[in-house]
Symmetry: C2
Subunit: 191 residues, 2 copies
Amino acid sequence: MNFLEERILKDGLVKPGNVLKVDSFLNHQMDVGLMDMIGEEFYNRFKNENVTKVLTIEASGIAIACSVARVFDVPMVFAKKSKSINIDGEMYVAEVESFTHKNKNNVMVSKKFLSPEDRVLIVDDFLANGCALQGLISIVESAGATVAGLGIAIEKGFQIGGRVIRNLGYRLESLAIVDSMNDETGEIVFR
Amino acid sequence: MNFLEERILKDGLVKPGNVLKVDSFLNHQMDVGLMDMIGEEFYNRFKNENVTKVLTIEASGIAIACSVARVFDVPMVFAKKSKSINIDGEMYVAEVESFTHKNKNNVMVSKKFLSPEDRVLIVDDFLANGCALQGLISIVESAGATVAGLGIAIEKGFQIGGRVIRNLGYRLESLAIVDSMNDETGEIVFR
């Protein structure tokens, strides 16, 4: 069991509807020391991928992405979410449909910050159905850049996101993959 | 001239309508080394304030807040923005009216993460009219906690936010205060 799985067991809370609350250390209150351990771990896993840029999406991915970018010594870029497209030709935009909420969101990155030479490590705190991540991949491909890999803190292994992205041939590394949770007993089973 | 003012002159762009674009290093693409310098500078300015928590608001404040929290060795909390209030009694909520957009937004922090013993350093990347910052102050006060200070990267000195917050008696430190900008010449005048 790694440091993140241990922390999830210690401070995570299982709520009805397969909700895993980790807001005391990962996505509302943040333990910066833990972020840095996540950054080190992704560095160890992707250090041979010649990463030139770290990409995430607002908001909670930003903290992890900063810690990852620091170890790689490369810039970090965060994609913005927007309901409305305001295309002025300067943004890469991916329209992403949420499986969960049935609504559409746009994910946007300024064209200035991705180029065909870039090898992009995409990181985020959570992976469930993978909608946001698919948008980020689409944006990297639009820029002619290369997805060097994807690093996720917590993957919900019982939802489809991880399988879809691995099936597409991308290298996806999740530090903790939750295969099942029980909100009555609080039990969490990792892969 | 300090390191942030120098960086603004080097990489910032003045656009019509008093817009200062710093998206290549501060609020879209992020220079993590610069964030860490900002973190160190706020530590030097507020190290005697017994800070127990760093508070910011999504999204771009998160990167700075992580760097600040790391130096203080305290947790970071980011407030969430929402159009709709979903009060379940577990959140501190401040309704904030935007001077610029004339709309109302809610700013929310879980009650779990602020207590009366907390001395909170509020940080953000930008201060213009100060709406979001006023919401954060209101939330800290609602929790019975103390505002230990406010640290801003760039303040637009010609808008009212900074004056309002200093008039209220809070200790507000802005690393770069822009007193005027000229989008035709690109000139930026710091206080």
